[in-house]
């Protein structure tokens, strides 16, 4: 088994080469190559069904790639001999639907994985959990169950839960898409502060203002390939491809956005 100790300190946070993924006959990823450097914040945008979630899920092997390689901090996660549980510990993931554990309190959501996976003792796990909850502004909610929290609070607990594992890398899959508009800001503020602290982040989002302000780089995907990537002001501000332009105009024009399937 290859251990995390082997992780290369110099290697990029994520390196994806010739990644293909098919579900049956449906080719969802048709050859993806891209790299995320350490400390970089990369936003992935694109229409619904373009394969953004699938790409993200291939990085921590929630989806098994059909072919191609994925390296996380230099370790090839697609190698069948690698200890995938070990790799995933270093990769925090935040889901559109939060996926908090409903039978546990906010605090227990943070302590259980630490204790079971990292074998931290109860006192240390609790101390770290309280620290992370404070970081997302939810100190007073530690004994609430997920059902007692608003969507925005649940998503912040989910972020804190990932942070409690001390990840080197965070994946976000449309973290604000399931939220009421007035709750989006709190979650984005937490993500912004994470980015400011130098966390490596790969974020699938439809929040163009967030992408513009926070991302170092924006990747536009369509039909299972990367159509265009570059600095946000370039990709969002002055897109070079017709597909990017039409996607952005549909997203930014409220009348068109309402009927667009891509901002669900």
């Amino acid at each position: 088994m290859k251990e995390a100790a082997e992780l290369d300190r110099e290697a990029p946070a994520i390196e994806v080469r010739a990644l293909h993924k098919s579900f049956g006959t449906l080719e969802v990823l048709a050859g993806i190559d891209f790299t995320v450097a350490r400390g970089e914040v990369v936003c992935v945008i694109g229409p619904s069904g373009s394969g953004k979630s699938t790409l993200l899920r291939c990085v921590n092997l929630l989806e098994e790639p059909t072919s191609g390689t994925v390296l996380v901090a230099g370790a090839e996660v697609t190698d069948p001999d690698v200890d995938i549980d070990q790799v995933r510990r270093g990769i925090g993931m935040v889901f559109q639907s939060f996926n908090l554990f409903p039978h546990l309190t906010a605090l227990q959501n943070l302590t259980l994985p630490q204790r079971r996976v990292l074998k931290r003792d109860k006192a240390e796990a609790t101390r770290i959990a309280r620290d992370r909850l404070a970081r997302v502004g939810l100190t007073d909610k530690e004994s609430s169950y997920p059902a007692q929290l608003s969507g925005g609070q649940q998503q912040r607990v989910a972020i804190a839960r990932a942070l409690a594992m001390d990840p080197q890398l965070m994946l976000f899959d449309e973290p604000t898409s399931a939220l009421d508009p007035e709750l989006v800001g709190d979650v984005l503020a937490v993500m912004r502060s994470l980015a400011d602290e130098g966390m490596t982040m790969l974020v699938v989002t439809h929040e163009m203002s967030f992408a513009k302000e926070v991302a170092d780089r924006v990747v536009f995907m369509d039909g299972g390939v990367i159509v265009e990537e570059g600095a946000p002001e370039q990709v969002i501000g002055a897109p070079g491809h017709a597909r990017t332009q039409s996607f952005l105009s549909r997203l930014l024009d409220p009348a068109a956005a309402r009927i667009s399937p891509s901002d669900d």
Binding site: F101, H103, V117
Partner: protein, 261 residues
């Protein structure tokens, strides 16, 4: 000859009450109330059943049921996991087990364990072990299917979140999925407990010593001694003392689950 709808409804309903009244009058006339009272409500016989029917029979019924339920729950959980296994032979084994034990009468299992095993293997199983096995083996088959449905009802995102935090498949199952699945299946499992309470009456087949009598056997013995149905009626009421609160609990749990959705 026209009737309004309301008139017709009224007529039909009055006719139904009239029939019921006639039936009741006929029964009251025909029945020998003295005989019925002697058979079912003999106060002397009733008094004689206490306190043993509670301290021995009711207690034993509860003990037998809980032994069978505990063993059946553990085995049922194992079977449910086998049923969901990625390894086909485990699935087949679980399916064969479940279909077999759901398809045969529990009575047969009691006979096999109570008489078959001692005869064939020359070993006498402890009475409590026999009861635990017999009730549990059958209960497990039903509970396995219930638990499997519960496990499958836990959203896939729960396992994905657990795996993304670095938990193994087994750890995610034990710490995240099973606790939620058991909550989901609490109402149907409580129903299973009610069924087992009644099935525990089959214990009367095994030759029991007096201190091991449960409600059905106790009632039957008292019936033979007193030539009165009163002990049977009391035993029946004792079952209801157990099963009615459990049934009430099921409805409360179901209402809670409905609210949580």
């Amino acid at each position: 000859m026209s009737m309004t709808r309301r008139q017709r409804t009224r007529l039909v309903r009055s006719a139904q009450y009239a029939v019921l009244g006639v039936v009741l009058v006929v029964i009251a006339q025909a029945a020998d109330w003295g005989e019925i009272r002697r058979a079912f409500f003999d106060v002397e016989v009733a008094k004689a059943q206490f306190p043993d029917i509670i301290t021995t029979a009711l207690v034993n019924t509860v003990i037998y049921t809980l032994l069978g339920f505990g063993f059946g729950l553990a085995l049922g959980l194992l079977l449910a996991l086998m049923r969901l296994s990625q390894v086909p032979p485990y699935r087949w084994l679980a399916i064969v087990y479940i279909e077999f034990f759901r398809g045969i009468p529990a009575l047969l299992v009691f006979i096999a364990l109570g008489f078959g095993v001692p005869l064939a293997f020359q070993v006498a199983l402890n009475q409590y072990v026999t009861v635990m096995l017999a009730l549990g083996l059958v209960g497990a088959a039903y509970m396995a299917e219930t638990i499997r449905a519960g496990i499958q009802a836990v959203p896939k995102g729960q396992t994905e979140a657990a795996r993304s935090l670095g938990m193994s498949q087994g750890r995610a199952m034990v710490s995240i999925v099973i606790p939620q699945a058991l909550r989901i299946v609490l109402p149907p499992l409580t129903n299973e407990l009610i069924l087992l309470t009644k099935d525990s009456s089959l214990v009367y087949l095994l030759g029991l010593s007096l201190s091991q009598y449960e409600l059905a056997k106790f009632g039957r013995d008292a019936l033979n001694q007193n030539r009165s149905l009163t002990p049977i009626l009391i035993a029946g009421l004792c079952y209801l003392v157990i099963t009615l609160p459990l049934g009430h609990l099921v409805r409360r749990l179901e209402a809670r689950t409905a609210r949580a959705r």
